[in-house]
């Protein structure tokens, strides 16, 4: 088995369709719709709530997104168990040979306890796949009904384990905290205790995963400020990528809110939460400006 696994070879059955981030956001069934104000929705709010006329479809789309995201999180955690060895383990001759490394090279070694955490995360993510596939079914969805965006696994492909912690455990699992909080509230408002119950359990796991990422990032880079800086920059890039279009922000115009309290529990500092809030809001404003520009162009075309 190779040391690193390319994202375009992720194994899926025939029901799955993989697309780019841009393609996914262009899907009109996306949770972030540019729908006009309509009955039942509060003016100026795009938050995913049951009163939205498209709530059923949007919630199913989001649940499918959670489902495929959990698969990739499972795969990413599993790969981190495999791709890096622990100190003292020199018995990977085939892998060293195929990677062009000297036999017994342990320059990529990570702490044993970090690997154990990643294995634990793999089990948690496997349960999340089980939960989300059952919830999807409960909500009337089907596997493959929506496309799969593989950007999460891409963040788990870095050859530096610290970047994986920053990109996956802190940025993407941090987003999962926001998503699960929103879905839990959705379940509460919709009077769906089944959904609320499951999201609450998954939320507890995600806080644990983000805290793992926060703790390990600090410990592993304790004496390496440059590596820590690079990791946090990578996290910011992933955070921005996942704020694409303003899907997640403090604004009610975003379908998904920023779960500040749970982020604090997971080891984010106040400054880090503020930073994510700013990036998310900027992304939302960028999207609004882009939509306004397109509407103006369309109006010009109509007038002509």
């Amino acid at each position: 088995m190779r040391k690193y696994f390319p994202v375009d070879e992720l194994a899926r059955d025939q029901r799955f369709n993989q697309v780019t981030m841009r393609d996914r956001m262009a899907d009109p069934r996306s949770v972030l719709s540019d729908r006009p104000e309509s009955a039942g929705a509060r003016r100026g709010s795009n938050r995913l709530v049951p009163s939205r006329p498209d709530a059923s479809g949007a919630a199913r789309a989001l649940m499918h997104g959670i489902f495929v995201g959990e698969i990739q999180a499972l795969e990413g955690a599993g790969r981190t168990c495999h791709d890096f060895r622990t100190a003292g383990d020199s018995a990977r001759r085939d892998q060293d040979e195929s990677a062009g490394l000297p036999p017994g090279d342990i320059s990529d070694a990570i702490p044993f306890a970090l690997k154990l955490d990643m294995a634990r995360q793999a089990w948690d993510e496997a349960r999340h796949v089980e939960i989300s596939v059952k919830l999807s079914d409960w909500m009337g969805g089907e596997i493959g009904e929506f496309a799969e965006n593989t950007v999460l696994f891409q963040a788990a492909c870095s050859t530096d384990p610290v970047l994986r912690l920053a990109g996956v455990n802190r940025a993407l699992e941090g987003l999962a905290i926001d998503v699960f909080t929103t879905m839990k509230e959705f379940g509460d408002l919709a009077g769906d205790p089944f959904l609320e119950f499951c999201e609450d359990w998954m939320l507890a796991d995600e806080v644990t995963h983000v805290k793992m990422g926060s703790d390990w990032l600090r410990r592993v880079t304790e004496n390496d400020p440059d590596r820590r800086k690079a990791a946090l920059e990578f996290q910011a890039v992933v955070d921005k990528l996942f704020s694409y279009g303003g899907t997640r922000s403090d604004s009610q115009e975003s379908p998904i809110g920023l779960a500040r309290r749970f982020r604090e529990l997971a080891g984010f500092t106040d400054a880090e939460v503020e930073g994510i809030a700013e990036v998310s809001l900027a992304a939302l404003n960028e999207r609004k400006a882009s939509v306004a520009k397109m509407q103006a162009a369309a109006q010009q075309f109509t007038d002509a």
């Binding site: 070879e9 499972l74 599993g78 018995a91 044993f112 294995a119 089990w123």
Partner: protein
């Protein structure tokens, strides 16, 4: 009311545990180091394979089992200092080079069309050998002096049996044709031969050895 000061036997009549055991501290520690190494290779392989299998149910099972074997490695890691090995990495070693070659061969399949080979290696060869080595250790070490190892083995064996059952049932559900039966059998035979060369998870003597080769220092009053 019974007299609380009446002398009682230190061992209750139903407590048949015996003091002698086949392994001294060093031998038990060596085996535990081998177990830790072998469990680590297993959880790493299972984790790595998750992304390579298209079958969703298999993918989820591999992720679940990955953690269980990591936990086993952690239990052995914690046991080593209790067996006077203060640097657990020193004894976290393969039993021999043949076992390294076995692991390399077991982890060789990567393609999405090789799920049968992946599962055969783990659930029809590697895990059955874990069950054998653990059972031998549990049944032959001192039931009193090495009780902590026995307790750990009992926890682990429960997982091993559960996982073996899961894996075997997945295999039975995947193998549908005569060709697939042959593929599974051929891969199992190839790996089993390497495991025979290794002598088992803890090397020769994993499930016993000729009386003449018993480790020094052991009190072989029990079964050999």
């Amino acid at each position: 009311v019974a007299d609380p000061y009446k002398p009682r036997a230190p061992f209750a009549p139903w407590d048949r545990r015996e003091l002698p055991g086949l392994f001294d501290v060093e031998e038990s520690a060596r085996r535990v180091g081998n177990y830790k190494w072998a469990e680590m290779r297993l959880f790493e392989a299972l984790g790595g394979w998750v992304a390579t299998v298209p079958e969703l149910d298999v993918k989820m099972r591999l992720g679940t089992h990955c953690y269980k074997h990591a936990w086993h490695a952690e239990l052995w890691h914690k046991r080593l200092p209790e067996l006077r090995e203060m640097n657990p990495d020193r004894l976290t070693q393969p039993a021999n080079d043949a076992l390294v070659r076995f692991v390399e061969a077991m982890t060789e399949p990567e393609g999405p069309d090789q799920t049968i080979e992946k599962l055969v290696g783990v659930y029809r060869v590697y895990i059955p050998h874990f069950i054998a080595a653990y059972t031998f250790h549990r049944n032959n070490t001192s039931q009193i002096t090495d009780a902590p190892t026995i307790r750990t083995i009992n926890f682990i064996l429960q997982d091993e049996f559960d996982d073996w059952r899961d894996g075997e049932m997945l295999l039975q559900s995947l193998i549908e044709t005569n060709d697939e039966v042959d593929r599974a059998a051929a891969h199992q035979a190839r790996l089993e031969k390497l495991m025979i060369e290794a002598g088992g998870i803890a090397g020769p003597g994993s499930i016993g050895m000729p009386a003449a080769n018993k480790p020094n220092g052991a009190l072989a009053g029990g079964a050999a």
